[in-house]
């Protein structure tokens, strides 16, 4: 991992187009400003971890029964009552 020392107000530039600036340092919290082209997704790492955990929880190991949606709004598929 590349480790750089930066002071408040200083930046690093990635690939000539992504600017990461240390905006403020308060105790153990660092405020970071990121300027990147709109096609570069920027997220907190926790978002990926959250989705990863959710995927792991969602995986079903056998063909379990599906829930039934309660009075679902709009676009409810037509079902005929027996």
């Amino acid at each position: 991992m590349l480790i750089l020392s930066r002071k408040s107000g200083e930046s690093i530039v990635i690939d000539g187009r992504i600017h990461v600036k240390v905006v403020r340092v308060e105790g153990d919290v660092v405020k970071i400003g990121i300027e990147a082209p709109s096609d570069i997704p920027v997220h907190r790492e926790e978002v990926y971890q959250e989705i990863q955990r959710s995927n792991q929880q969602a995986l079903t190991k056998q063909q379990s029964s599906l829930p039934k949606l309660a009075g679902s709004p709009a676009k409810t598929p037509k079902t005929s009552q027996p």
């Binding site: 096609d39 978002v47 995927n55 969602a58 995986l59 829930p67 949606l69 309660a70 679902s72 709004p73």
Partner: protein
Amino acid sequence: MNAVDKIDMETLATPTLNEVRLPTGLLGFEHIKDYVLLANPAEQPFAWLQVKDDVALAFIVIDPYIAVPEYKPNLPQLDIENLGIQNPDDALLLSIVTVHGNNRATMNLKGPIVINRRTHIGKQIVIANASDYSVQHPLPVAAV
């Protein structure tokens, strides 16, 4: 590329199988790339995204708009281009469902799976406005 049947979950009359390839896998399951999307009219609005090489492993998926008609995921343009999606009708959007016991189920609105209906290639995309949505958005499940 050979023509493939266009995936359409809404007009299914019979159980259908569609092979789906997710070249980057799902987050946490990057090594699993080949799936079969199995939709049975009797089980709508749910469908199964089954692991092709292990039929015992599957994800339950749903068209998120059925439960949240106002859902507005902001999909990065680069992902859309890489998937070869040229107009909105090409895209099939699915949310992964988690079943928590008998009467609670949620769906992931932060990371939908976007599939090109024509090529059957897809990707789990972290939407740009992920902070507006939950990974565990509650589904209105009827008590069994």
